[in-house]
C-alpha cells in the first residue's frame, strides 16, 4: 500500500465529512427561517390603544358594574375582540378590573350575594378590591390603565401591573 500522509483526509473521510456538511447546510437554512417564523409573533409590539368604556355617571358606589370594551385582536383579524371589564367606583376613586382570572384566565364574574368576584372554572374568589381571597388564583385581578374625561371612562389595552 502506498504511503499516505495521516494528516490528510482519506477519500472515505472526505465523503463522510461532505455528507455531514451537506446535511448541516440544509438543516441551518431551513431551521433559521422556520424558528424565526414560529417566534416572530412573540416579538411584535402590541399597539397601544385607548378605548371608550362608556358613561360611568350611573355606576353605583361600591357595586362592581360590568362594561364591554372592544380591543383590536392581534394579527390580521379586523373584527375586534369584545372583553368584559368591571368598573368599581369608590367616591372619586375608580378602578377598572379585567375579568380574566389570574389562575387559568377564565371569565370571572361579580356575585352580589357573595359580595365577591367568582371564577366559575376552579372556584377562585376575589374581593371588591380585586384581591385574591380564596381558591387557587395566585395574584389579584389585573386592572386596566384608565382615565376619565367628565363622566366618560376610557381604558388602554394594558394593565397597571404585568401579569
Amino acid at each position: 500500500m502506498a504511503h499516505r500522509d495521516p494528516r490528510r483526509l482519506s477519500r472515505r473521510q472526505f465523503g463522510v465529512l461532505g455528507t455531514q456538511v451537506s446535511g448541516a447546510v440544509v438543516a441551518v437554512l431551513l431551521g433559521i427561517p422556520i424558528v424565526g417564523f414560529l417566534l416572530s409573533p412573540l416579538f411584535r409590539q402590541q399597539q397601544a390603544v385607548w378605548r371608550k368604556v362608556g358613561d360611568i355617571s350611573g355606576v353605583p358606589d361600591g357595586e362592581p358594574t360590568k362594561f364591554e370594551v372592544a380591543f383590536p385582536q392581534d394579527a390580521w383579524t379586523t373584527a375586534e375582540n369584545n372583553l368584559a371589564v368591571y368598573v368599581v367606583k369608590n367616591g372619586d376613586n375608580t378602578k377598572v378590573f379585567s375579568n380574566v382570572c389570574t389562575h387559568m384566565q377564565c371569565p370571572v364574574r361579580w356575585d352580589g350575594s357573595l359580595h365577591q368576584f367568582l371564577c366559575p372554572c376552579h372556584g377562585g374568589l376575589y374581593d371588591i378590591n380585586g384581591a385574591n381571597v380564596g381558591g387557587p388564583p395566585p395574584k389579584p385581578l389585573p386592572q386596566y390603565v384608565n382615565r376619565i374625561e367628565g363622566t366618560t371612562l376610557f381604558v388602554e389595552n394594558r394593565f397597571t401591573e404585568e401579569i
Partner: protein, 388 residues
C-alpha cells in the same frame, strides 16, 4: 381466480414480490390464547384511521379562522345532514378511541408484554397514546364555540406555570399573549399536520416491531404448553401451578419460545379483529347520528354567565387545577409529565423475566393506585361540575 386475472397478478408479483409480502402479512402464526384481547390493538388502529378519513373530509369545509370557524361548522349543522354525521363520527370515534387505547395499554401492562425484547413496542405505544391525547386536546379548540374557546384559554395557560420559561411557552402556542387568530391557525396546523405526521410513522414502527417479535408478548400465551427454540413441544405441567415457561427474550436468546397453540392471522385473528372493530364502528355511527357533535354558541370572551366545562377526558386535570393550592400550581404540569415519563421508563424498570401480573406486585400495585387516582379525580370533577 380467472386465468387473465392470474396473469395480471403474476405480472405484478414479478415486479413487486407482492405474493410473498401478502403471504407474510396474512399467514403469520398468531397465538390462539388471548386473541380476543389482541383485538384492542387493531380496534385502536381502525379508530385512528376513522379519525384520519373523517378529518380529511372535514377540512374540505372547515375554515380555521376566529371569524369563520364557528360559522362553517354552524353551516354544517344547519344545512348539511351528511356532513354533520361525518363530524359526529369524527368526535365520537375520538371519544371511543381514548377508551380503547387506554384498555389496550392496561392489557399490555397487565400481561407484561412490554418486556425484553419488546421494550420499544411499548415505548412507541406510549408515544402514540400521548399523540392521541394531543389530538383530542387540539381538536377541542377548533370549533371556536364557547366550550372550544375556554378550553383553548385554560389549556394554553397551563404551560405558563413552567418555571422560568412558562409565559414564553404560552405565547409560543398562542402566537400572542392572549388566545386569538394565530392560536387557532397554529392549533389547526398542529392538529391536522404536525401531530399526525409524527403519529403515523410511530404507528408504522409499532406494527413493524410487533411483527418482528411476533404477537406473543402476553403472560397468557405461556401458561401451559409451548414450543422451545429447538422445535420441541413442552407439555403443560401436571401440577396445580402452571409451569414457568422460558419467556421469549430476544429471538437469538436461548430462552426464546413460542406458544404451542397458534393459528393463521388470516382469517382467524382478522375475524375477531373485524367483529370488534365493526361493532365499535356501529356504536360510533349510531352515536354520531343520534347525538351528533354539539356546537355551542359562538366564542364570547366577554361572557360573565357562561360556565366553562372541560371535555370529559380533561376532567382529572381540571380537578387537579381546583385541588392544587396557589403555591403549588406547577404540580399540575409535573404530575402528567411525570406520569408519561414513568410509562416510558416502565420496561426499563420492570426488567425481570416474570410476566404473571400476580407475581409483579412492584409494578401492579403502583399502577393500580395511579389508575385509581385518575378515576377519583374524574369522579370528583364530574361531581363538582354536574352536581352529581
Amino acid at each position: 381466480m380467472g386465468r387473465r386475472l392470474r396473469a395480471v397478478y403474476d405480472w405484478f408479483d414479478e415486479r413487486t414480490a407482492i405474493r410473498s409480502l401478502l403471504r407474510k402479512g396474512l399467514y403469520e402464526a398468531v397465538p390462539v390464547r388471548g386473541a380476543w384481547f389482541y383485538t384492542l390493538g387493531s380496534a385502536t388502529l381502525v379508530l385512528i384511521l376513522l379519525q384520519l378519513i373523517t378529518g380529511i373530509f372535514l377540512t374540505l369545509l372547515f375554515v380555521p379562522s376566529v371569524t369563520e370557524a364557528w360559522q362553517s361548522l354552524n353551516y354544517l349543522k344547519e344545512h348539511d345532514a351528511f356532513g354533520s354525521i361525518v363530524r359526529g363520527i369524527h368526535l365520537w370515534s375520538a371519544y371511543i378511541l381514548l377508551f380503547v387505547i387506554g384498555l389496550h395499554m392496561v392489557r399490555t401492562f397487565f400481561s407484561g408484554s412490554y418486556k425484553r425484547p419488546r421494550e420499544l413496542i411499548w415505548v412507541t405505544g406510549v408515544g402514540i397514546f400521548v399523540l392521541v391525547l394531543g389530538m383530542a386536546i387540539s381538536g377541542a379548540f377548533l370549533p371556536w364555540d364557547q366550550a372550544a374557546y375556554w378550553t383553548a384559554v385554560v389549556v394554553t395557560n397551563i404551560p405558563a406555570y413552567t418555571p422560568f420559561i412558562g409565559s414564553f411557552i404560552r405565547a409560543l402556542w398562542r402566537g400572542a399573549d392572549t388566545v386569538g387568530p394565530i392560536t387557532l391557525s397554529r392549533t389547526f396546523g398542529i392538529h391536522v399536520w404536525l401531530l399526525p405526521a409524527i403519529r403515523f410513522p410511530l404507528i408504522g414502527a409499532h406494527l413493524a416491531l410487533l411483527r418482528k417479535h411476533g404477537e406473543f408478548g402476553s403472560y397468557v400465551n405461556y401458561r401451559g404448553a409451548y414450543r422451545s427454540r429447538e422445535g420441541v413441544d413442552v407439555p403443560p405441567a401436571p401440577a396445580q401451578r402452571p409451569i414457568e415457561p422460558p419467556y421469549p427474550a430476544a429471538p437469538s436468546d436461548e430462552l426464546w419460545a413460542a406458544p404451542l397453540q397458534t393459528e393463521d392471522f388470516y382469517p382467524h385473528q382478522t375475524f375477531k379483529d373485524g367483529v370488534i372493530s365493526a361493532a365499535l364502528v356501529v356504536v360510533v355511527f349510531v352515536l354520531a347520528v343520534v347525538i351528533g357533535a354539539p356546537l355551542e354558541a359562538i366564542a364570547d370572551p366577554a361572557t360573565t354567565n357562561y360556565t366553562p366545562v372541560p371535555e370529559w377526558f380533561f376532567l382529572p386535570l381540571d380537578e387537579l387545577l381546583v385541588l392544587v393550592p396557589q403555591q403549588l400550581i406547577p404540580l399540575v404540569l409535573v404530575l402528567p409529565t411525570g406520569g408519561v415519563l414513568l410509562l416510558l421508563a416502565l420496561p426499563f424498570i420492570d426488567r425481570g423475566p416474570e410476566r404473571n401480573p400476580f407475581e409483579r406486585p412492584a409494578v401492579m400495585v403502583p399502577g393500580a393506585f395511579a389508575v385509581l387516582f385518575v378515576v377519583i379525580l374524574t369522579l370528583l370533577g364530574s361531581g363538582r361540575l354536574f352536581n352529581l
